[in-house]
């Protein structure tokens, strides 16, 4: 078993990190601050999840001025992560609406 693939699944198994991937997949890169504004968590929590995603090689970062900008890595792993996060997120929202019909 390759060392490179274990962290990928660990990274994606976390609900919050899936949301980070989902948000990154829908945009052109984001900072920890902009992600924290979009997601219900602190900048510190976002930074921790971004670090985990980076270790899993799903996300890459670049310095832009004084900011660090994160984006999904192109390639099959990033695409798979993005598909899982996007499609999974869509069904989360749909099932939540379905649940509300019976609430």
């Amino acid at each position: 078993m390759s060392d490179a693939v274990g962290p990928v699944f660990a990274a994606l198994a976390h609900d919050t990190r899936r949301r980070v991937v989902q948000t990154l997949a829908s945009g052109r890169g984001a900072t920890a601050t902009s992600l924290a504004a979009d997601l219900p968590m602190t900048r510190q929590a976002v930074a921790k999840h971004l670090a985990a995603l980076q270790r899993a090689e799903l996300v890459r970062s670049a310095r832009r001025g004084r900011e660090t900008v994160y984006e999904l890595k192109p390639g099959p792993l990033g695409e798979a992560a993005s598909w899982l996060a996007t499609v999974g997120g869509e069904w989360d929202e749909r099932l939540e609406r379905l649940g509300r019909l019976f609430a």
């Binding site: 693939v5 609900d15 899982l84 499609v87 749909r94 099932l95 609406r97 649940g99 019909l101 019976f102």
Partner: protein
């Protein structure tokens, strides 16, 4: 109340998303929400038209205005509805959990096999299969 399955992360199928929710309702009522156009428009997408029969047409307009014409592949009355949508197949199933509680399960599978997503992903899939077999 919501109970989302993360089973897909423990399997070799990286092109599959599985989710489920348990609601306080009878299976017949939940089935109606899955097959009645008016009810589908309340949760699946803002505009849905469905001929609830095998080979029937499914029209979906999503929030962003994207329109899709899809086909019903399988229909097991009161239990299971499967359709092809864009590049994925979707299966919705309904199960009675206990008195007055019903589970809805959804599985969406991308048409593209994992092997087409590149050798590294195939390695990932087999590594997980090895670890968890």
């Amino acid at each position: 109340m919501c109970n989302y399955s993360v089973a897909h992360y423990r399997r070799a199928d990286v092109n599959k998303v599985e989710r489920e929710i348990t609601v306080a309702a009878e299976p017949e009522d939940v089935w109606r929400a899955l097959t009645d156009e008016v009810l589908l428009s309340e949760w699946l997408a803002p505009e849905v038209e469905l001929e609830a029969e095998v080979g029937g047409e499914l029209y979906v307009r999503s929030e962003d205005g994207e329109e899709r014409w899809d086909t019903v592949d399988e229909l097991e009355e009161g239990r299971r509805l499967a359709f092809t949508w864009a590049d994925s197949s979707v299966e919705l199933s309904v199960d009675a959990v206990s008195d007055g509680r019903t589970r809805v399960r959804v599985v969406e599978t991308a048409a593209l096999p994992v092997s087409d997503w590149g050798p590294r992903l195939t390695a990932l899939a087999s590594a997980c299969a090895l670890t968890l077999a």
